[in-house]
């Protein structure tokens, strides 16, 4: 099969990128220098980790000691969620990447969270004081 006369390589025309990937989907700055952002993100993550660890050494601190343990749990889960989202969005480039990749990942994550919350509910995990599994 032959193509119309042309002396240009087929990929030389970059005016239309539809259906062609550049490793980063639709965003424009996939190859921009994010080094500064990465370092700031790592410092932020280290700070949040230090806060998490501080709950062990200072369990009576006002910020997380309310509600007889509920405050501590809420605080730690919030820190965990912040770290999770920060790593996924910045270090794993979901912030800059094609939305389809976010859908692929979050479909699995949301399915896992939903299914296992249901399992924990079935085992009465959220019922205070109950014995979940009899020996």
């Amino acid at each position: 099969m032959t193509a119309p006369a042309s002396t240009e390589p087929a990929l030389a025309d970059t005016s239309d990128d539809s259906g062609r990937h550049d490793g980063h989907g639709s965003h424009d700055d996939g190859h921009a220098d994010h080094t500064g952002t990465y370092i700031k993100t790592a410092l932020f993550l280290a700070f949040v980790t230090a806060l998490e660890t501080a709950t062990y050494f200072q369990p009576t601190f006002l910020l997380w000691s309310w509600g007889s343990g509920v405050g501590l749990t809420v605080f730690l889960l919030s820190c965990m969620a912040i770290k999770f989202i920060t790593i996924v969005y910045v270090f794993m480039h979901l912030k800059y990447d094609n939305k389809l990749l976010s859908i692929a990942f979050y479909a699995g994550l949301i399915l896992a969270v939903t299914v296992y919350l249901a399992v924990l509910g079935a085992f009465r995990f959220f019922s205070s004081g109950s014995q979940m599994v009899q020996p």
């Binding site: 002396t7 087929a10 990929l11 990937h21 993550l45 749990t73 389809l100 699995g108 924990l120 959220f126």
Partner: protein, 218 residues
């Protein structure tokens, strides 16, 4: 009318690297995304289900029976906090390695890759030390339902980290041999995705398993 057929060659010639698989950049796909990258993200999504199951099992079994060792008796939070910090910093060195390769700075790429593998090895060494200490305290794999669930969860994570280290060293060797040109930065990015996921899983384990062993109702 004369016609000329122009073959599309991706990633060959410029680097003179024979034996390399074609570079993905520029290949057309239905989604507009690299198939390899999409496959890795789908794999990571499925891994959420694996670790979700293991974490759930641990939460159900975490309460020890009377007379058995529980989380509070064995966990060394300061030590685990340092391990968590080490793994967190390995994510930084991983992205710096990828960033360096995209700029064509192969030396820095290799240095950061080696640093990532080293930090991962430190984490694994810490986990081996932790397991050894627990066993010495009397918490074997079959000592209780808590210990079985704990070792299975953290052991699976440790295996993932070990696989990640092997991938990092393999990629480092590729780079040292000149088989990881700037145009193949996506290969390193995919290894990085796996590594960051391992880190993300530890973020969850560190909080749910270590820091709130008694905080969650049950």
């Amino acid at each position: 009318m004369a016609s000329v057929t122009v073959p599309i060659e991706h990633g060959s010639g410029e680097h003179g690297l024979s034996g390399l698989s074609p570079i993905d950049h520029g290949h057309e796909t239905n989604t507009g995304i690299s198939n390899t990258k999409l496959a890795m993200w789908l794999f990571l999504g499925s891994e959420c289900l694996l670790f979700g199951g293991l974490i759930t099992t641990y939460l159900i079994y975490k309460t020890p029976l009377p007379g058995q060792l529980g989380p509070k008796d064995v966990f060394d939070i300061p030590f685990t906090s340092v391990s968590s910090f080490v793994l967190l910093m390995s994510s930084l060195t991983m992205v710096l390695s990828h960033s360096a390769l995209e700029k064509g700075d192969h030396y820095r790429c290799q240095v950061w890759l080696a640093a990532t593998a080293l930090l991962g090895s430190v984490f694994i060494s810490g986990q081996i030390y932790e397991f050894t200490a627990f066993v010495r305290e009397g918490l074997g794999y079959t000592s209780s339902r808590f210990s079985s669930a704990f070792y299975t969860l953290t052991g699976f994570h440790g295996v993932h980290v070990t696989v990640g280290i092997i991938m990092l060293i393999s990629t480092l060797l590729l780079s040292v041999r000149g088989k990881l040109p700037k145009e193949r930065a996506e290969t390193l990015e995919i290894v990085g995705l796996y590594w960051h996921f391992v880190d993300v899983v530890w973020v969850v384990i560190f909080v749910v398993i270590y820091l709130i062993p008694e905080g969650v109702p049950g």
